[in-house]
Symmetry: C2
Subunit: 217 residues, 2 copies
DNA sequence: AAGTAAATCCTCCAAACGGGGGATTGGCGG
DNA sequence: CCGCCAATCCCCCGTTTGGAGGATTTACTT
């Protein structure tokens, strides 16, 4: 969605990794039977792909690794990314739990689709990913977006936010005092108030809270 | 994409915010002319919507605020979210720069579309958002996903990562020593090595780097 | 077998941190 | 007008941190 199918230019060359033989062949059939797509190779596991990768120059990898080798799928993405940073990898799995999703995205996957997706939508998503997009199944996209949502109430005053920002920069009381043109005593007062409002007792906790809850900037 | 159009159930009721009168009316026409959608109200600015919100119960807000009131658009999303946490807001603007995009997402927008989107795709995206998805234009989605990508090389050893995690938790040398069953001296050694590898000199900087570069977990 | 890296332990010491108090000013709302 | 809160300043004092050094053991690599 949100991008046109390309049928006139050179077809999109891709490789797939799918452990189930039947599904692998179905995927291959789907891709090779659709103008604009060309499945160069299909592997049952990531190791096989990594072994053949030097001789391949696909435009995209469709990675479908089911339970059992869960950790492997993420590691494989990282490995592919280390060798071909520009090669987009799209996950297509049954894992819908957050941990796996975010682990895959952190490892470098550009898209994440859950199985059960309709063939036409799969093709559109693949095209999207190859064109610089990041196709995600709706629930996945929502969860990703939600990681950006910030708690509405930020109890800190403007001045306190300024001080907190300096804390995050690792500045000392003295540097902060100089930067904000106030005395070190005042800095301490602000920091004490910040700690109280955030329910923390150390700089490190305050920094973590500031970053996680996006209290600054 | 990735979701079906719903024409049989009750139509999706939405309100739109769009400062340009012509575009506002075109949007209204498009929505009201499509089975499954119903545009309850259209406002020229966010303030007007907020004033009427108590009497409205839309299933989605389509927010299209162009340049000039940039900050206002983000603030409006935050305000809507504060009053109706469950009401999804989809941005539809010309702003493609990262700052604005992430500010909107942080404020609580569930989707982000750039103008120029085809009508059919807009409708699909709206339906997607209402069904729990997070429609994003391809370039936007990619940028969002890239914020998860982690630098491939993490120079820290396993033990150092454990210590760093404790640092992020705000633990003292002593607590860390007890938690990891080592002496405080050893903890200090690890921390010194961590600081050197990360090129930082304080706890706070190390914590920021750990979170930003996803060095832990 | 030698070399390297990681993990463990140690001392000395100055600087920074954080908890407990308290005080003054200015502004804003009831 | 009075109270509250943010912002500013100050004290005492124990704890924690981090820089600069050095040492040992284990384990992996060459």
């Amino acid at each position: 969605m949100l991008s046109q199918r390309n049928t006139t230019e050179r077809p999109l060359e891709l490789v797939i990794v799918e452990d189930d033989r039947r599904q692998r062949e179905l995927l291959e059939l789907l891709l090779n039977g659709t103008p604009g797509f060309y499945c160069r190779a299909a592997f049952p596991d990531a190791e096989a792909l990594l072994a053949e990768l030097p001789g391949l120059h696909p435009g995209l990898v469709l990675m479908d690794i089911d339970l059992g080798s869960g950790r492997n799928g993420v590691a494989a993405v990282a490995e592919i990314r280390a060798r071909r940073p520009e090669l987009p990898v799209v996950m297509l799995t049954v894992h819908e739990d957050s941990d796996y999703v975010f682990a895959a995205l952190c490892a470098g996957a550009v898209g994440y689709l859950v199985k059960g997706i309709a063939p036409a939508e799969l093709l559109a998503a693949v095209q999207d990913a190859a064109s610089g997009g990041s196709p995600m199944s709706p629930q996945i996209a929502r969860r990703v977006v939600q990681t950006f949502h910030v708690g509405p109430a930020n109890p800190l005053t403007e001045r306190e936010k300024e001080v907190l920002a300096q804390l995050c920069a690792g500045e000392s009381y003295r540097s902060i005092a100089e930067a904000l043109f106030i005395s070190g005593h005042t800095v301490r007062s602000h920091i004490k108030n910040i700690y109280e409002k955030l329910h923390v007792h150390t700089r490190a906790e305050a920094v973590v809270k500031a970053l996680k809850d996006r209290l600054i900037q």
